[in-house]
Amino acid sequence: MLLRHTPTEIKEREALTVNPAKTCQPIGAMYAALGIHGCMPHSHGSQGCCSYHRSALTRHYKEPVMAGTSSFTEGASVFGGQANLLSAIDTLFTVYNPEIIAVHTTCLSETIGDDLNQIVGKAQEDGLIPPGKRVIYASTPSYVGSHVTGFSNMVKGIVRGLPVKSAAKSDTINIIPGWVEPSDMREIKRLAKEMGVPVTVFPDTSGVLDSAMTGHHEMYPKGGTPVADIVAAGANKHTLALGAFASEEGAKALEVKCGVPFTTLDLPIGIAATDRFIQKLSDVSGKPVPESIADERGRLVDLITDMQQYFWGKRVALWGDPDQLVALSEFLCDIDMRPVYVVSGTPGKAFAEKMKKILADIPEAKCKNGASADMFLIHQWIKNGKVDLLLGNTYGKYIARDEATPFVRVGFPILDRVGHSYFPLVGYAGAIRLLERILNALLDHKDATCPETQVELTM
């Protein structure tokens, strides 16, 4: 038993986190930056940060992940990292020739007080930024928020650095997709295209972190939102921010900077949230929902109808990032399952409030986020009251094994399975696939463990 170290008795331990259900800001900033075409993310801190983030993203995507580091030394941590960052900007442009560099800070550079605005200004003055090239930046202290906050901060950094205000507005709709997979961003673009709505999705890691095998290593794969499109985003008609935690701040900043109004929506995961997304896209663009999308929805409803008996009353434990958990919990309730334990390491009262509403009809539900809301806690909850299904990132595998419980991997990181890069979770098609995986996990478990007399050929 791998996790025999998890006792059933729950004790107060707010100074100690065991098996975190989050990680730190900079990796989110790096992920967001990779969604710009020709972008080199840059980590302003010690070498290890950059190495860890690249490794973690590579383990999740099985793709090369390029990023620079300021390689802080003892001297830099005493005298400030300006010299390191200036030299890094010079090196990156000279050698790696990116379109744009997206710098994020770390706990180290934040605490010693490096001012990115000033340093990037100096790089400009010193002529280190070649004509037509750009450097954007975001402050991402690791001791505030979580990796989701880092994503949100880099989206804000993108907005601060690129879009230009325009009096004339285009028909294009901006979509900030949230921290979702390349496959999800691809699906969002497909749905918009199906509706005939011109969109600029940013950041967009499709074609970057799910790139094709070509026989060549590309520093800058062909995907990612072109810088010019993001610059033009300031002249677009409306912004849809998908996921309050990851996307709203960026959309707000774009409204303040360029006067582009925005609507915050939940991530379009599951039927109700996808309905709201499609409806809103139709409302703001004036384009009707085409029959093809109505058909996709119909197929999802058909599947739920067919298999409803297997969903009813199933107790689910889920963990991960707030935007995903909100949408997934709503979907689980909509198919008559019971999300009884929900944990996110990402702090924020808004999450607790939102979850309270979603879980209103599930009195036994427990939900915790922020300090000591970790994988250890959710395992303890499960030990005190079994569940039928686990839904979350790879770190649930110890619990799944220890408790012999069906487990469907969603979220970040997924280090031990494939599929998340290729098949979306968002949209009606994403919901069908999620249901397929949930059903298969439940039914495989039943087939493998039920008494012989109950083995059924037809399920």
Binding site: T23, C24, Y52, S142, V144
Partner: protein, 452 residues
């Protein structure tokens, strides 16, 4: 050579000529280079992590703990405390007011709950900057709880991964010599330093030494136990692999307790055999030597037909080796040669000048040698030299695959043991399988000189 080398890195790349290559190394990385290196914390964490009955508390923001949670495939024959991730998860408030008090509370909870044999407290970047008295807290909690509580000075910015190894060795030095053996130590007793029991490799070595009649007193740190480490000074010899990480400790034990050491490597037939013979030679007992010789004969006889069959099919292939420690590069060049594969690019993240001299001596003229390299260099050199195979770690794997090169993970993510004679068999199979996988036939745009 090529434009792929950063101007300021020119001295860290060389081409072998007459068995020599002059290369600069042990330098801090250039800012802005996409270095494959990690930090001090990473170095300390990977070295100490395999001690399975200690708690490892990362004092810092959650990230440093999250990224090092169970990522090293090091296995335990007993407790699995090391596979949990503990952190003080420092928040903004702690950064402003100090995190020492939170560390104290975390340690108390942790030690009360798990009753570990020792606790390691890793200081991360932020702790170095805000100036928490980690040493003081550790001393206090050690007195309170009666177990060793060891600070690890692993602030990320203090240097490279190598400095992290040294910090880990310092912490280990604090344990060694603090416990006396309950029963007499057998005469032919050694410590194994620098094997981390990835995929159970240490157990293979243990079995080899046991067959020779040599007793393993302490494993540092693979499948490690705190009490064994505390008694380690009673061994007659330290057998040191991964010299980069363990030389500091070996030197300390030699100076403080008079325990001499020998450097070895367990990768490949040649080096594995030498590791056994060297130990036999140290004890000077012909019986040991005979047993070692018999063991090597047995194993090699069993292994050679297999190696021959692979060599017949692999001869002429070319490899890039880019791994963390240079000792591994050296062993791998020899192991590949046994399989008929020529190394055309060889490098490491943290090699020393003498390591690179050895490497140059082993390689054919024209081999490119790199220190602290990066993806652009590595992929350019691989293409230029027509390599078919890449041996590296997690960050290199997808680059190799994207280029249509075969790959073998010789780092934390190895799935099978690669050490010992059995490891050589696994290595040959893995290399062969990856070079021959039919997928290369489907790549539309193969590299020039690419794999079959």
């Amino acid at each position: 050579m090529t434009t792929a080398i950063l101007e300021k890195r020119r001295a860290q790349v060389a081409t072998v000529k007459d068995g020599k290559a002059s290369i600069a190394c042990a330098k801090p990385s250039l800012s802005g280079s996409v270095s494959q290196r990690a930090c001090v914390f990473c170095g300390s964490r990977v070295v100490l992590y395999p001690i399975v009955d200690a708690v490892h508390l990362v004092h810092g923001p959650a990230g440093c703990a999250a990224y090092t949670w169970d990522i090293r495939g090091t296995v335990s024959s007993g407790p699995e405390l090391h596979r949990l991730s503990f952190t003080t998860d420092l928040r903004e408030r702690d950064v402003i007011f100090g995190g020492a008090e939170k560390l104290e509370r975390a340690l108390r909870v942790l030690i009360a709950r798990y009753t570990p044999k020792a606790a390691f407290v890793y200081a991360t970047c932020i702790v170095g900057v805000i100036g928490d008295d980690v040493d003081g807290v550790c001393r206090k909690i050690a007195v309170e709880t009666g177990i060793p509580v060891l600070p690890v000075r692993s602030e990320g910015f203090r240097g490279s991964k190598k400095d992290g190894y040294a910090a880990a060795c310092d912490a280990l030095a604090g344990l060694i010599g603090t416990l006396e053996p309950a029963e007499p130590v057998p005469p032919y007793s050694i410590n194994i330093l620098g094997d981390f029991n990835l995929a159970g490799e240490l157990w293979i070595l243990e079995e080899h030494y046991r067959r020779m009649g040599v007793n393993i007193l302490t494993r540092i740190t693979g499948d490690g136990r705190v009490d064994d480490i505390r008694r380690a000074h009673h061994a007659k010899l330290n057998v040191v692999q991964c010299s980069g990480s363990m030389t500091t400790l070996a030197n300390h034990m030699k100076e403080t307790y008079g325990v001499p050491f020998k450097q070895v490597s367990y990768f490949g037939i040649e080096d594995m055999s030498a590791a056994l013979y060297d130990v036999a030679a140290f004890f000077g007992d012909p019986v040991l030597h005979e047993k070692a010789a018999a063991l090597v004969r047995d194993e090699v006889t069993r292994l050679l037909p297999l190696i021959e069959s692979y060599r017949a099919r692999l001869t002429g292939r070319k490899a890039v080796i880019y791994v963390g420690g240079a000792f591994k590069t050296i062993s791998l060049i020899k192991a590949l040669r046994l399989l008929g594969i020529e190394t055309v690019v060889a490098g490491s993240q943290t090699g020393r000048p003498e390591d690179y001299d050895t490497i140059a001596g082993l390689c054919n003229p024209g081999t490119i040698i790199v220190d602290d390299s990066n993806p652009v260099e590595l992929s350019t050199f691989a293409r230029e030299r027509g390599a078919d195979l890449f041996i590296g770690g997690v960050k290199e794997r997808p680059i190799a695959f994207k280029m249509g090169m075969a790959f073998c993970d010789h780092n934390h993510e190895r799935k099978l043991p690669l050490a010992g004679f059995e490891g050589m068999k696994n290595f040959a199979e893995e290399v062969y399988a990856s070079l021959m996988t039919p997928v290369w036939g489907f790549v539309r745009n193969p590299r020039k000189g690419g794999a079959a």
